[in-house]
Symmetry: C2
Subunit: 148 residues, 2 copies
DNA sequence: ATTTGTGCAAATCGTTTGCATCTGA
DNA sequence: TCAGATGCAAACGATTTGCACAAAT
């Protein structure tokens, strides 16, 4: 139960409020209390896939009272600002991915969990030209897994 | 009334009721009026991607009064029976694909439309072994397109 | 006769919106 | 100050569910 983790601050996270504020500002977002708090929850822990509901709970636990509406607003603003990526991967809920770089996902059908496909050299070959008048925004690859 | 055309055309469809009934029976489904009617709407026209709402409208137009609840039930039963494939591809609505073979999709972000990637030699290379205790159900590839 | 399917309306779930109230630059 | 954020509750759209009724074997 205890990792050799010296300090939970060796993790990517542990940005100071002002560093987070600066990051938000650079993204064109006014650094409000809620946005700073949510940004820290989102980005202080490396790559994660999180739903609005989950983030809301974390916020409450972290004693950052935010309404669900604000969570949704914030997630979408962060997405528009390029800080997050939206994953539409399983039917119902929407996941937000703190890793906006090019990568692919596992989806565990058993519980709907989403995870990155690790260290992969995954490549998609043989894609035809996109239809006239359109351009490729991105290519999503989802590997659906069932319990063995 | 009259039977203007026995087989509407060379289109895949035009299965007789009894042929459809047989197909349902083979899939382990009791061939009821509604299921037969819906199966014909779904499968008489080659590959399609359709939502519950859309199928409901088609059914009404085809003078097959079915409730939306039954549409949902039927789509899921067909999916469980392997007659359809569920596509969770864009946030809100769920698409059902009458083509259950291995193929990939375009999603037009502009309107959420889904289409098959045509005649493709698409291959996904470099996937790692699935995590212990799991097996790959399938690999989905979605190419998201925006208007140019 | 028994089992299974169907229709309806109400219920649920995730998400969005309208609006009055705050807050940060 | 004052545009922009936030909270709340009501609104929403897609899907599901509970239960009385109807149809298939």
């Amino acid at each position: 139960m205890h990792e050799p983790t010296r300090q939970r601050t060796g993790i990517p996270g542990a940005m100071s409020d002002s560093a987070v504020a600066e990051r938000l500002r650079r993204a064109g977002l006014r650094p409000t209390r809620q946005r700073i708090a949510l940004a820290k929850l989102l980005f202080d822990r490396g790559d994660r896939h999180i739903t609005a509901e989950e983030l809301h709970e974390e916020a409450i636990i972290a004693r950052v009272p935010v309404s669900l509406a604000t969570i949704y607003n914030t997630l979408h603003q962060f997405t528009d600002a390029g800080l997050l990526r939206e994953l539409s991967v399983s039917g119902a809920k929407t996941y937000f991915d703190t890793n906006t770089s090019n990568h692919y996902h596992y989806v565990f059908e058993a519980d709907g969990r989403v995870e990155d496909i690790p260290a992969s050299e995954v490549r998609v070959l043989g894609l035809p030209e996109p239809p006239a008048g359109t351009r490729v925004l991105r290519v999503d690859v989802v590997v659906r897994l069932a319990d063995d």
